[in-house]
């Protein structure tokens, strides 16, 4: 941001505008991995955020600590070994429990360790195919070198490398995911996999459905619409504004602030589309719901005829050619 501001002038402003425009198109998508299954319909997965991955890693570390620590705790209760022996045993178990834990759990749960499950992320092949065992093995053995080796070397310093070099190495390797589009570690690249979100969204009710009535079927139709919209009312907005309106309507209106927001949006829209009839404040929400329905029907209809309207600038774009 500061770099852009410092540039100033026409070039800076143009660049900023272009960036904003690009951001708007990309924003609802975010970083995604696109895969085309044999049906030929591309589907996409949202790349997991670094925060989620860090959280999962932390949880998994705790789990593997427990795996290695439980036998040691049991042994310490029996007084069979001295303290030094226990520490040595713990380090040994930690070493032999870590990689196998990751590998086995990712094999069993098809790309999700317990930590990943808890956070709601998983590993997929970037080609959309199954993740064969060798990919899981590669990914987790590389983790030894990428994550654990620098960490242990920093604390234990058994290697014949100065510690500043270790820092450089560690920062370099750990920052690899920040430099690529799919947020892959070196091991992920090697195995051809990526960590993605595994969301389970619920299907929200259709705002344009005509029957939110108690009984199902066409009999229980709701009353005739209160507001009538002419085509010139619906020519103003595009898909982007429609979907923002959808967000607002889905939020519901239990609080005073939400009701104020609805009232503000309603008056803005009434002014913008030149709706001349009077709309009582109590009916603002009703107005927006009906406007949404009419606008969506209209836009989808135009869309079917090849007139896709991305946002409210659609008219301007057409005029410019």
């Amino acid at each position: 941001m500061s770099a852009q501001a410092a540039q100033g002038g026409l070039v800076g402003r143009m660049r900023a505008r272009r960036a904003r425009k690009a951001a708007r198109v990309v924003e609802p998508q975010g970083r995604r991995i696109e895969v085309t299954p044999p049906e030929g319909v591309p589907i996409s997965y949202a790349v997991a955020g670094m925060g989620a991955r860090f959280g999962a890693q932390l949880l998994d570390l705790i789990v593997s600590l427990l795996i290695a620590g439980a036998p040691v705790l049991l042994l310490s209760a029996t007084d069979a070994l001295a303290a030094e022996g226990l520490i040595t045993l713990f380090l040994l178990l930690m070493f032999f429990a870590r990689s196998p834990y990751y590998i086995v759990s990712e094999l069993i749960w098809n790309g999700a360790t317990l930590g990943k499950k808890a956070v709601g992320i998983r590993v997929i092949g970037t080609d959309g195919r199954r993740i064969e065992p060798w990919r899981i093995v590669v990914r987790n053995l590389m983790k030894e070198v990428e994550v654990f080796l620098p960490v242990t070397a920093l604390f234990g310093a058994t290697l014949l490398v100065p510690s500043w070099a270790m820092w450089v190495w560690m920062l370099g390797v750990l920052s690899v995911p920040f430099w690529n589009r799919r947020r892959q570690r070196l091991g992920d690249m090697l195995a051809g996999v990526a960590v993605v979100e595994a969301p389970r969204p619920a299907l929200l009710p259709d705002l344009a459905a005509t029957a939110p009535a108690p009984a199902s079927g066409a009999v229980a139709r709701e009353a005739a619409p209160l507001f009538a919209f002419a085509p010139h009312h619906l020519d103003v907005y595009g898909r982007y504004e429609l979907q923002r309106l959808e967000d607002i309507l889905r939020r519901g209106a239990p609080t005073k602030a939400e009701q104020n927001a609805v009232a503000k949006v309603a008056t803005t829209i009434i002014a913008k589309i030149g709706y001349t009839e009077k709309v009582a404040p109590a009916l603002h929400r009703k107005f927006l719901e009906e406007f949404y329905r009419a606008q969506r029907g209209y836009l989808e209809h135009r869309n079917l005829f090849g007139d896709a309207r991305e946002d409210k600038t659609h008219g301007a774009a057409k005029r410019q050619g």
């Binding site: 065992p133 344009a208 459905a209 989808e300 209809h301």
Partner: protein, 343 residues
């Protein structure tokens, strides 16, 4: 209700949006698919009956069809988000199911590992050469000047067996019954833990153009060579060789093979060939994992031999026979297995 009659009936319902109707007609199928996918995700494909599995694939194709249509006609964002996520999850269930662990392990042992061994002779040569050249150099250097021993062998490992130690001390360290607490026991547990660590390191460091892999294997060789020279100088060469052979043939070969795996990764980085680095790495990765899998198996066997056989067998001739006999078994596995027809 068929599609034709549905749209005919819908024509009467003026005011209903096409995409809302589209959704209402398909919603039940999506919900059912969601339920089936959820079950597979939590309990595996085995949770489904035969009919349900059939139903799943059918519903999946319907949902994909619906997603394609919804993208084209619908502006209902809630629907698009839901359908995108549902189809992505269903596609994972249908096309990327969980790999069978037992089957792939058996296949790796019977076929994939030996084939990878034979296919990567060059990488194997590099791995073994790095260790051997290191060992010869360590041997020669320590022979020239015994001061080299201190810089080549890590301090904790020497355990008083430096060039100045008496022949009796050295001999006792090779033939003691009590393996746990003596200096050789220390050396054995050092070898075991560190060899596993080194195997992982030399493998994974290979991605950095194979150089760290070769350097680390070479350094390992230096240590062994220097260690061996001390015993040869004391006239205990054959005994030390037997002591090292009984597990070392397996263990050190495992390190070399792990190094070969790392080298394979490095080669994929250095000379990716016409298909690009990503594709070459993926191919190299699969081969390299087969090599490291072989190394892992060998390290387990070596640990068993080291833990039991070496303490029980005190005769140098038998030690040599066991060690090199085991080596011959590995060689037979790598050269003979997996030559049959593809099934």
């Amino acid at each position: 209700m068929t599609l034709a009659s549905a749209s005919a009936a819908a024509d009467h319902r003026a005011g209903e949006i096409r995409s809302a109707r589209f959704r209402a007609e398909r919603e039940a199928g999506w919900k059912r698919l969601d339920e089936l996918v959820r079950r597979v995700e939590s309990r595996g494909a085995r949770a489904l009956s035969y009919d349900e599995a059939l139903e799943l694939t059918g519903l999946y194709r319907h949902a994909m069809n619906g997603l394609s249509a919804a993208r084209a006609i619908s502006m209902d964002r809630a629907l698009l988000v839901y359908l995108e996520a549902l189809c992505a999850r269903a596609a994972s269930v249908v096309y990327a199911p969980q790999a069978g662990v037992r089957g792939s392990l058996a296949r790796a042992i019977a076929r994939d590992i030996p084939r990878a061994m034979r296919a990567n002779a060059a990488a194997l040569a590099v791995g073994f050469a790095a260790l051997w050249i290191g060992a010869l150099l360590g041997y020669w250097l320590t022979g020239q000047d015994s001061a080299w021993y201190d810089s080549l062998v890590p301090g904790g490992l020497a355990g008083g067996r430096g060039p100045g130690a008496s022949v009796e001390t050295l001999r006792a360290s090779l033939f003691q019954e009590d393996g746990e607490h003596g200096p050789l026991g220390l050396f054995a547990s050092y070898l075991f833990q560190h060899n596993t660590q080194i195997a992982i390191l030399v493998f994974a460091l290979g991605i950095f153009a194979a150089l760290p892999t070769i350097a680390l294997t070479f350094a390992n060789g230096l240590t062994i060579g220097a260690f061996f020279q001390v015993f040869v100088a004391a006239g205990l060469g054959r005994e030390a060789f037997g002591w090292l052979s009984i597990h070392g043939v397996t263990e050190l070969s495992a390190i070399c093979i792990a190094a070969a795996g790392g080298t394979r990764l490095g080669l994929a980085v250095l000379s990716p060939g016409p298909r690009g680095r990503a594709a070459s790495l993926r191919e190299g990765g699969e081969q390299a994992v087969m090599l490291i899998a072989a190394a892992a198996l060998m390290l387990i066997v070596a640990a068993l031999v080291e833990g039991f056989a070496r303490q029980l067998v005190q005769n140098t001739g038998v030690r040599l026979a066991v060690g090199w006999g085991l080596g011959a078994c590995w060689l037979a596995w790598f050269t003979l297995a997996g030559r049959g027809e593809e099934r």
